[in-house]
């Protein structure tokens, strides 16, 4: 082991030469590449920062717009609610009006129906009563009662003659009398009645014929032309029933 100046010097020079070689071939290019990459990274970071700032700004804008939209939405909801409330009230009023009309109509219909039912009930009642009265009177009807009615008729002959004369006028030359009786009255009685009437209407020739009709119960019904003079019990009951229907009053009743 000895010191060799040339080796020492060469090695020192070698180091310095290699230092310069490596500066040119290694350190400088690699440093440039690293710097370039760092610049790119820095730029990317700056871009990312800018993008982040932009995103934050846009987020703020969007949040502001969202708040405005929320307010607008609340206003719209309130307005819609008010309009719906108004519409609801209007519809309610319309419905109430319609319901009132319908109720009125139904009430009128009900009243009419009630009235009709009442009248029908009354009619039926009158029919039943009439029918019962007829049945009762049929049971108690007799020839004597018939004669009694007949006698009353003869006593009322003046009134009948006046009516015949009034309704047919003085120009009528003959009148055919159709006498319906519940019980036979006989030709003699019939002729007697004709002659009594004839004497009261001298200008007119009267003829009479008897027709038996048990439905009359008792009494007589006289038809002169198109006029009918009913003195039968059935006729009286029918007149009474008609009075009951129309007048709603019962003669002699409370």
């Amino acid at each position: 082991m000895r010191f060799d100046f040339w080796t020492f010097s060469f090695q020192a020079i070698n180091f310095i030469v290699l230092l310069f070689i490596l500066k040119g071939l290694l350190y400088k290019p690699v440093r440039e590449i690293l710097e370039k990459r760092r610049d790119i990274s820095r730029k990317i970071l700056e871009d990312a920062e800018m993008a982040r700032d932009e995103a934050l700004r846009m987020k703020e804008v969007q949040e502001r717009e969202m708040k405005n939209l929320q307010v607008m939405k609340a206003d719209l909801i309130e307005q819609s609610r008010r309009e719906a409330e108004g519409e609801r009230k209007k519809l309610l009023l319309d419905a109430q009006g319609s319901a009132k009309d319908i109720i009125e109509k139904e009430r009128a219909l009900f009243e009419a129906e009630k009235k009709r039912a009442g009248e029908e009930t009354e009619n039926r009642s009158v029919k039943i009563v009439t029918s019962m009265a007829c049945s009762l009177l049929k049971d108690i009807s007799s020839e004597a009662l018939n004669k009694s009615v007949w006698q009353n008729l003869i006593s009322e002959a003046g009134t009948i003659a006046k009516n015949i004369s009034g309704s047919h006028g003085p120009s009528a030359s003959s009148i055919d009398l159709e006498v319906r009786t519940a019980w036979p009255i006989g030709d003699t009685e019939l002729e007697k009645f004709r002659r009594t009437l004839q004497s009261m209407v001298p200008g007119t020739s009267l003829s009479a014929r008897e027709i038996a009709d048990k439905d009359l119960i008792a009494g007589v019904s006289i038809k002169a032309g198109d006029k009918v003079y009913d003195f039968s019990l059935a006729g009286q009951i029918e007149a009474f029933a008609s009075k009951l229907k129309t007048g709603r009053t019962i003669p002699g009743g409370q």
Binding site: R2, F3, D4, W6, Q11, V30
Partner: protein, 222 residues
């Protein structure tokens, strides 16, 4: 049997200039490093391939280390010196593994040359950062009495730097040669692997110590 030659082996001479085997091996190492760097430079790209990634990672690790030790100085000012020391010493330490080549760092002249450069760089960066007066002042602070001690300390630590590297490399080579002579062909392999590891560690230590010395020379005392 392999002969271990501790003294420099002259290969040729040009006039008074003697070129030793150590120097020639160093030239080969330099040529290899230059070729490798040229090859890498040609393929440098922003989107790095695997080899470039490894290289960049190594250089960034160096940069980080320099930054940690010298936080007030641009790391790329010191890094070429320290980096070149690491690379040259590292590859030189491994050169001895190749049959027929002598490890240049197993020559005391080489390690002394590197240590002298390390010593010079310490002063260069010290003066550059603190100025000549400021740098000289630190040798006499806190008292001028300490000047010889400072000088002795710097000389001895530089010598220690050279001798440590030389001793480690020479012992590795000698161990491999002795075991090869005693045990046979395959037995020295584990020792060779150990020699590789030691070589890399020694290169690292040499560079780090140079860095620490430079840091010592550039930092102001408070």
């Amino acid at each position: 049997m392999k002969t271990i030659v501790i003294s420099p082996e002259p290969l040729m001479s040009v006039g008074p200039v003697i070129i030793t085997r150590t120097v020639v091996t160093t030239w080969l190492v330099m040529a290899f490093i230059t070729l490798a760097c040229w090859f890498v430079k040609r393929r440098l790209a922003l989107k790095p391939p695997v080899l470039q990634e490894g290289l960049e990672a190594a250089l960034e690790a160096m940069e980080k280390m320099v930054k940690e030790v010298l936080p007030d100085i641009d790391p790329w000012l010191v890094m070429p010196v320290v980096g070149t020391l690491w690379i040259l010493i590292g590859v030189s330490n491994l050169a001895g593994v190749i049959p027929g080549l002598k490890t240049p760092t197993a020559d005391i002249n080489t390690t002394f040359a590197f240590a002298a450069l390390s010593y010079s760089m310490t002063h260069y960066f010290g003066i550059k950062t603190r100025g000549l007066k400021g740098y000289v002042r630190h040798y006499v602070s806190p008292s001028w009495v300490l000047l010889p001690f400072h000088l002795i300390a710097e000389t001895t630590r530089t010598m220690a730097l050279a001798v440590r590297l030389f001793g480690n490399m020479l012992s590795g080579e000698m161990t491999a040669a002795i075991i090869l002579g005693v045990a046979g062909l395959l037995v020295p392999i584990p020792f060779t692997l150990l020699h590789i590891v030691i070589g890399l560690i020694q290169a690292y230590i040499f560079g780090v110590l140079t860095l620490v010395f430079i840091a010592g020379g550039t930092q102001n005392e408070t």
